[in-house]
């Protein structure tokens, strides 16, 4: 059992590097490193097996069965669930919409997130207050913000349309939730509002580790603010941005509550994504098998996407 090579932090303390642990004298009843290691791992392995591995396996298995909604009986039907969903135009619309929704949200979150992080990186007094306030949307339960938005964006009573009218920006009420295009815009907006703080936190943390001397040197050399951003900040942010974009993409693609609680996937099915589609199959059509099949599709897409991104990130770091 060896210590992990390469787990050395940037600030190495003391002299001894890479000394094997078993050189230390032991007193009394001690567990060996290996035993401690396994002991520490056990709770995780047990919980993971029971509450992650098992349900996901079950969910995948269900995709090949049909379940009668009102009794525990399961009937094996092979690939019929997949045939059903692949033959359903709503499934393909949901997939298309999921892609639009994910790409738009992620791009907006990243761009706005970096901008906000730069803003919050300023060393002015009281910046902590602003940091707290601007990171607030992340805290708010989706239920709360969805309901508040339903009211604010209500075409007749909502403050948003009223303000837009007053500012002269619109002449007729915008039907935020009953027009397919605007409904998609609304859910994207909600997603951006709620999760940009995540990007901000990650980017801000990284910004704080960039040595100030780099900027000072560049300023002395006469570089403009934009040049400093482009040549110093951006490269330093590349890694963290890549990670952030991966996570946001994955999470956004799967999002259920933000869409369902705001528009229920409507009007019609124009804001469906695959998660909402799966939920509808299970709860409205009472087809748990079809929902599970959709889940399998989601998993396959995610595995494919993350494998691609992992290779990308890995390549970047070399």
């Amino acid at each position: 059992m060896t210590l992990h090579p390469g787990v050395h932090g940037p600030a190495a303390r003391g002299g001894a590097v890479g000394l094997p642990a078993f050189a230390a004298p032991r007193r009394g009843l001690r567990l060996s490193d290996r035993q401690v290691g396994i002991l520490f791992m056990l709770p995780f392995a047990a919980v993971a097996a029971a509450f992650i591995v098992w349900p996901v396996t079950e969910a995948v298995r269900l995709a090949f069965y049909t379940k009668h909604p009102f009794s525990p009986a399961l009937t094996f039907i092979g690939l019929d669930n997949f045939r059903y969903i692949f033959g359903d135009p709503v499934f393909w619309a949901a997939l298309r919409q999921a892609v639009i929704w994910t790409i738009s949200s992620t791009v907006l979150q990243s761009v706005i997130g970096v901008g906000l992080a730069l803003l919050l990186h300023q060393a002015v007094r009281g910046i902590n207050v602003f940091r707290g306030l601007l990171l607030f949307p992340y805290m708010v339960p989706t239920v709360v913000i969805a309901l508040v938005w339903r009211w604010m964006f209500n075409p007749e009573f909502g403050i948003v349309n009223a303000s837009l009218h007053r500012l002269g920006l619109i002449r007729e009420n915008v039907y935020w939730f009953s027009d397919p295009q605007w409904a998609m815009a609304s859910v994207i907006l909600l997603n951006v509002w709620k999760f940009t703080p995540f990007v901000v936190i990650c980017v801000l943390a990284r910004l704080q580790t960039i040595p100030v001397d780099l900027y000072d040197a560049a300023r002395v050399d006469g570089a403009s603010a934009w040049q400093r951003f482009r040549d110093i900040t951006l490269p330093q942010l590349k890694t963290v941005l890549a990670v952030v974009v991966v996570f946001r993409t994955i999470w956004t693609f799967n999002k259920f509550e933000e869409i369902y609680l705001l528009t229920r996937g409507g009007p019609g099915t124009s804001t469906f994504n695959l998660a909402v589609y799966a939920f509808e199959q299970a709860t409205a059509n009472l087809k748990l098998g079809a929902a599970a099949a959709t889940g399998v599709v989601i998993l396959a897409l995610l595995f494919g996407g993350s494998a691609f991104y992992l290779r990308l990130v890995g390549r970047q770091e070399e």
């Binding site: 003391g14 401690v36 509450f51 989706t142 239920v143 704080q208 580790t209 996570f247 994955i250």
Partner: protein, 297 residues
Amino acid sequence: MRYETRQRLRLVAVYATLVVVTVVICFPLVWALVSSVRPNDEMLRLPPRLVPERVTAEHYAALLTGRSMYFEAAGGYRPKTSPPQHFLSWFFNSVVVSVGTTLISVGVSTLAAYSFTRFSFFGQRFISYFSLMGYMVPSIIFVFPLFLVMVPLGLTDRLPSLVLGYISITLPFSMWLMWAFFRGIPIEVEEAALIDGASRFQVFRQIVFPLALPGVIATSIFSFIVAWNDYLIARIFMNSISQLPLTVGVMHFFEGVHVDWGLMMAAAVLMTLPLSVLFMLVQRYLIVGFGAGAVKG
């Protein structure tokens, strides 16, 4: 002189931008706050106004004392079972479930992540990818099978089922985060202590854990938020009105007898308050912690 003026202008610009951006982003929360003290007869008035003419504490009073939400003006018999009655139970349920989830997932993942980064194992790479995968799996996929697990365990409609359900979501994420944090902690200090004769346990408890504290706090907060804010799992797992957490309970004000915006806004404020307090207190740790852990090298 010019430099100072430029600095001052820059300062003004920064503050101005900050204020504008903050106002725009925080507006929904301001709206909720203001509307929570708006009396019912002004609630849906046209055109909508931000500031109400009168303020009232009746919505908060209704939530905290459980007064009936049904038609006051309409006479008739009113039963003693209306939703606001249960608001305090919902609050309590959310606290219990969120704390339970956080303790378990952070505890388990801290130990496991330490083990990962310090020892070499068979299947280690598998577990690391597994963490990432588990992190990605949306709850919609396993909520129904997981519900069916709860049945033989006899946990349906009881709070522990929620804790177990949330762990499914928070554990991979906590593992991933803590792993990143531990990777950033230099091994030299431990080695020195081990050479001096300390046991693994002592090293972990006295040296490594304090260093990892920002990471632990950050992970705890994220776990707490996930558990506090979840809707889907709670809606499928829980039925009895007094057992609901806040997220599902609050929907009763929307899908119940009628849409009660006042109660909903007051509930929204009360629901978000603990998170905001928590967040303000530990904000520092979040940013520092992320910096240490999320970035490699």
